[in-house]
Symmetry: D2
Subunit: 283 residues, 4 copies
């Protein structure tokens, strides 16, 4: 599938700041950047980094003065997905583990799986396999946690969300990841552009490693799973925050768009997958 | 320098468990494994993983039954260090940043730099450069935090240590890392064997990226910095915990040894470095 | 019923300290102190206070030097209880509220009912009346939380216990109180001597105000409810801690005893009450 | 002094709710209610309670339906204050303690003095007497914590404020109280109407018991200390929250006014008191 994604961020600077943006799309085996462009309204030092961790792409922008700054990114991206029968996953050796999945078994800043182990066992310990755990956790969160804009902030974690029972996509993903890891299921965070997400914004979902691939789940059920364009993959939002800032600029405006460039787009959702007893992976 | 390190861990198993050990020494540009051996007292599935993240080495052991299990590791390791004048660091372009250092600017499970930013600015915001920040933070922790065995547990984090003002080497390193990252200084956690550490145990210190290298600091001042043998490097203990366990075995006994194999060992400590206005890196 | 209670506490002093003990039994409408004696091994300033809040009795002891100090209390106490049919409670006007019960609707140090409201609603919101809520909460905690000595400390709160799913009598009571208050049911903490508690120690239970009286529940089910001798009543352990200390003495030894002085003692437990569909109040 | 105070609160009801308002002024030895009136726009069950704890006055309003509800209170109140020389306080027996002050030595929901003891000792342990501690704490908070509307919520506590270094009057008072209690100085929370507070709203300050009286301090320095009209006194906001709600109505609008009824009002502030080396108590 082909998508045109863009993000347009306007800041008011107040003294020196260092920004680390993670808004450029990721190039993977299955995701190809057809073209892209990053524009900054100021003549300021701009450095691009690709961290060996997850190959995520960061753009550092260092500003000294005050006033307005606009950062705009646009790209055309070709994505591909793979559908698998749940049955085929269950056939896999449950003990098989990819070396690169190991770090995603451990707790992280916003996914304190070590603190939630008892509750995870209590709620999901009876589930027999990684797929059942991932989908069970995702459905439980959809039912028990209320999606509420502005109910959390960038310091909110899985522990907070489990306690408060409300949050946004980021919080839903964090809680799901923490629960999966607590049960020895490798889980990671995906920051993405999302087609048909309403209202349009960056989106966050989680992936679970089962057998050979990372399969994607969205506890918010707010957008089709085949409309996601991967920006970054990490342990949680700490790794892939859209923007990490040292300094205190104000975000004035943010516009995020993700449109399909194909003739028609046939949404694949949690419900269609459940009906067919399938799962989907973003390649 | 050459060291013989060993760790001997005895567990009582109570039902199925999965262990992830990070006790094998790391092979780096400057650290060479001359020989090593890992022994497990049970005939159980054992898998070795080297995660692309930091190249850390994990040994997964899966047990099904109950009873005693012993895990023993021994290795001879050649290490090398590099000493630099503080002046030379200050000459470096402060904006220079290694791509692989970027992830170590962000908060992690036990180093919630996002939550400590205001206090970090308040305490250390006036310090002019990464070196001053790293050594200032390290000295402040040494003075303000009491080293107290058993005062914390494996869930304790930098926020807890800043609040309670007590902890062990792991907690000291976590707090230092969180403070440095809060001030835009890349900092990471080092799990290590430590010559002349008293009582003998695994040790933890932190490294800060300045200019070209990761320089090491130890807020506990409990052991010489040139007697450290690197086991693993990570964002914090979540990445490199000596043992992450799924299940509930009991650790009955732990013996850790690190001896010099050289004729004589001349300790390099924080004080000798300060006197010479130098820093040290483990290569 | 008549009981002989005693507590014997030995401390090692390390510099000046101020102790606030709450170990003397409370005199209430239904509980009479037949005789009592408090002994302190040192000649130090000792003041008795009876706070208007709950009429709790505090003994302040101020020490200046170092060395050993022993504090011993013994009393003979006559207690009385009242049994009521659950049916009779349900007949009461649910809106009826005693002015002195109002403060026990609000969150307190270790019972953060404000933070647990959503989970309380989720778990117990369907229960129709205060009695059902109190007994439902008490049973749920008995089933879901593991009693484990040493698993918590004096800073542990209801939020921690709900997260960690383990604790001691104090933690069980705190969690129960928080859940009840979150659902608009006045609940308070009772520190007490407890006959047939094993191992012998101070005990903690909770009371819920229903209709006209405070009825007692014990989520630990470790001792008969008619064997409790009230020491203090409060919002939580912060009000009625056996000993609040300013300074850093070490508690070396603690011995607590509560024996029946009557010919025979017929235990009334949660199970006998459930079987008879009754509740019990300590007068 | 004489003041006319009023509060006007508008809610949108969404299903059954129980409100506990603490907006009526307190009658004390030095504060007299000349006249008062509480108006509720709905015909709903309304009960008045005066809890023996601090004699605070609560108004419970129980609503069943949906729609708008307005609650309006107005009163004319005569207040009196007492000024004392700091020197006279220092002359008092530091060991003197009022029984009713004892509960205000212990931690409470939003003032976790038990968790902050080490930091309190570190920051203020050198101060020689209760007055120095109270004013030192108050000044430190004024300097270190940023007053920022909307930066906290009703769950924020002293621990959070010490970490985040920002908050509103309620948070400033909570942190001050926690610090004082951690150092064995009885401290309590005062909810009040406040003349010349800008913008007009309910205000919160703290009182410390020294010698014979509770002296008042305001770490925000936002209003004169002799313009305060006491609504309620408690351990912290949990005791005296302007409104505690069971249910989920929305507060649409709040208007709070406090005007002087006297010919002229001569403000007494922290600075005028410091200059004269005096303290002030609200009688």
């Amino acid at each position: 599938m082909n998508f045109r994604v863009s993000s347009d961020l306007s800041y008011t600077l107040r003294g020196p700041s260092t920004f680390f943006f993670a808004i450029k799309c990721l190039a993977t085996g299955g995701q190809r950047i057809l073209n892209e462009n990053l524009y900054t309204s100021l003549e300021v030092p701009t450095d691009d980094f690709t961290a060996s961790v997850g190959m995520n792409r960061f753009t550092r922008i260092r500003t000294s003065g005050s006033g307005a700054m606009q950062v705009r990114y646009q790209a055309d991206v070709e994505t591909s997905t793979q559908i698998a029968d749940v049955a085929s996953l269950l056939a896999d050796d449950p003990g098989r583990l990819d070396p690169d999945a190991v770090p995603f078994l451990f707790p992280s800043r916003y996914c304190q799986s070590d603190r939630l182990r008892q509750q995870a066992l209590d709620l999901f310990g009876h589930l027999p396999d990684p797929y059942s755990i991932a989908s069970g956790v995702s459905d439980w969160i959809y039912e028990k946690v209320t999606y509420k804009s502005g109910s959390t902030n960038e310091q909110s974690s899985a522990v907070d969300t489990l306690e408060q029972r409300q949050g946004v996509c980021r919080d839903f993903a964090h809680l799901a990841i923490a629960m999966c890891r607590a049960l020895n299921v490798p889980a990671r965070y995906v920051s993405c552009y999302s087609h048909l997400l309403n209202p349009t914004d960056f989106h966050a979902v989680f992936e679970v490693f089962i057998g050979k691939l990372w399969y994607v789940f969205d506890p918010t059920r707010l957008a089709p799973l085949n409309g996601l364009v991967r920006v970054a993959t990490g342990r949680d939002a700490a790794d892939v925050s859209v923007c990490t800032i040292f300094g205190d600029p104000i975000l004035e405006r943010s516009e995020v768009i993700c449109n399909s460039l194909d003739g028609q787009f046939v949404p694949i959702t949690r419900d269609t997958l459940m009906a067919a007893n399938q799962v989907i992976a973003l390649l």
